[in-house]
């Protein structure tokens, strides 16, 4: 594989950048693989990369119905954080933060990781208390957390509404300075390029039509481009999890819902951290191009549409304008939607299943992008070793049966309002 560097860039400048190698190949599916990963999104590509890199399993195929990186890894708001209270979430995410910090070097691909900090705003004394508690829990798990008062918040985000008599005054906030953003497409492409270079077959435009299961064991997968013999399958399909689970006669604690995001026209630098509104559900950051990147609530009913509905967008942006009034002057550049695998307790599932050789990675709700490296790393371990790693032990499927839910927000099973 061609290494990307200042020297290769200069060398290729002489040929007008027309002689670069393809970043990954377009192979025909083979008849048999050691492992097949279904879903060529961030998590699937990362899983294949870590299978090859950490476990030396290279006879691997990634099967993708559309094109790689065309789902949620290309549709998110690129926020990376580990500001969780519960140990299972905190330790998993903080492990991921380490992988994020090294990712550009590991992948030889600039993922533009920008640790600009995230601030969750608080709008009451009670909320400050809750944030203090969460911040303390984070620090006990070795994650940086700073409780900011109103004046400190004002210094960092002066354009927020600090006027008197507002409905939701800013009391302060909880900041994780090491959180940030990254270039989401580069994450998918970087993992794809490295996985491909280690022998992984990336097979696009290939739809899974069924599974070959005999005696409770995976024997193969049927696809629109032929049958493939395989003993281990990793399912990494986010919002399409239930569609494939149906083909396996499995019912899962997952519902598929639509989440929208949008960007404004580009403006000069005005916001250098990620900010979330504490009295509703709205988050914002500014991209390197100057666009304000915004998102919030789900559309509120089961959906596979991959495009949003106006009432939710209006509601979300109303919150944004309450928090930062200058947003009302901006024009909207683009809006889009992605379909989320919303789990019943708000936490993901990375686990084995009752079918031998079938491994499940789903339930990422709002937080799939930031989990990409840690999810790929632990899922690769779970598949290669046929047992969960301690980092994803809390993300077991059985918790819904035993009642040991991982309910970070404590909102219950109404996925469309959590």
């Amino acid at each position: 594989m061609q290494k990307y560097s200042i020297f290769s860039l200069m060398k290729n400048a002489f040929s007008n950048h027309e002689k670069w190698d393809l970043a990954w190949k377009d192979p025909l599916p083979k008849k048999e693989y050691d492992v097949v990963i279904i879903g060529g999104g961030g998590h699937g590509l990362a899983t294949a990369y870590y299978l090859a890199k950490e476990h030396n399993i290279r006879n691997v195929a990634i099967i993708e119905k559309g094109w790689i990186g065309g789902g949620n890894v290309g549709r998110n708001t690129t926020i990376i954080r580990s500001n969780y209270m519960h140990d299972d979430n905190a330790l998993f995410s903080e492990f991921g933060m380490d992988l994020w910090r090294r990712m550009s070097q590991d992948l030889n691909y600039n993922v533009m990781f920008s640790p600009r900090g995230i601030i969750n705003l608080a709008h009451s004394d009670a909320q400050m208390n809750v944030y203090a508690r969460r911040g303390n829990s984070m620090r006990l798990n070795g994650i940086d957390a700073v409780l900011l008062n109103r004046e400190q918040v004002k210094e960092i985000i002066p354009m927020a509404d600090f006027s008197e008599n507002v409905r939701f005054p800013i009391f302060g906030g909880l900041m994780q300075p090491s959180a940030g953003t990254a270039r989401h497409d580069a994450v998918a492409w970087g993992y794809a390029r490295q996985a491909d270079s280690m022998g992984v077959d990336i097979i696009q435009n290939c739809e899974v039509t069924g599974f070959d299961v005999k005696g409770g064991k995976i024997k193969g997968v049927r696809t629109s481009r032929g049958d493939i013999k395989v003993k281990k399958i990793g399912l990494c399909v986010a919002g399409s999890t239930n569609v494939l689970a149906e083909k396996l006669n499995m019912r899962l604690p997952i519902e598929t819902h639509l989440l929208q995001a949008c960007v404004s026209e580009p403006v000069k630098p005005v916001l250098d951290s990620v900010v979330t509104f504490g009295a509703g559900h709205f988050y914002i950051s500014q991209s390197d191009k100057g666009e304000m990147v915004m998102g919030g609530d789900l559309d509120g009913y089961n959906s596979y549409a991959q495009r949003g509905n106006l009432p939710t967008l209006q509601h979300v942006l109303t919150e944004g304008i309450a928090m930062m009034p200058f947003l009302s002057k901006l024009k909207m550049l683009r809006t889009w939607g992605g379909i989320m695998d919303m789990s019943m307790d708000g936490s993901p599932i990375i686990d084995k299943t009752h079918i031998e050789g079938l491994y499940l990675n789903c339930g990422w709700c709002y937080g799939g992008f930031k989990a990409t490296p840690a999810s790929g790393w632990t899922f690769a371990h779970t598949i290669a070793q046929d047992r969960v790693h301690e980092l994803n032990a809390g993300y077991n499927l059985n918790r819904f049966n035993t009642g040991q839910l991982l309910d970070e927000k404590g909102l219950g099973t109404k996925t469309w309002i959590s």
Partner: protein
């Protein structure tokens, strides 16, 4: 924007309704021994398929009645609405 035909009030905009999830989920019968699996299926497990989906909505800013709606989860086309008491055929 969805337009939902409330069986009590007629066509109304989505803004007047709130969502209540899968309408085919049934609580295990009272007074009978219920297995863990039955509880799981009632409380957590959902089909949530692409295509036709029977779901509950409440006409919150209207008659406040719960209704059943058959909607396509990919196209949002609404095929049929029923009163909460009416059985899905």
């Amino acid at each position: 924007m969805l337009y939902i035909k409330c069986p009590h009030c007629g066509w109304r905009s989505q803004n007047e309704f709130s969502y209540g999830g899968d309408a085919t989920v049934k609580r295990p019968e009272l007074g009978k021994e219920v297995s863990d699996k039955e509880w799981d299926d009632f409380v957590y497990n959902r089909k949530s398929l692409r295509g036709k989906h029977w779901e509950l909505w409440q006409h919150l800013s209207g008659c406040r009645q719960w209704i059943k709606v058959e909607r396509d989860t990919a196209t949002h086309e609404i095929f049929k609405t029923l009163k909460a008491s009416e059985e899905i055929s």
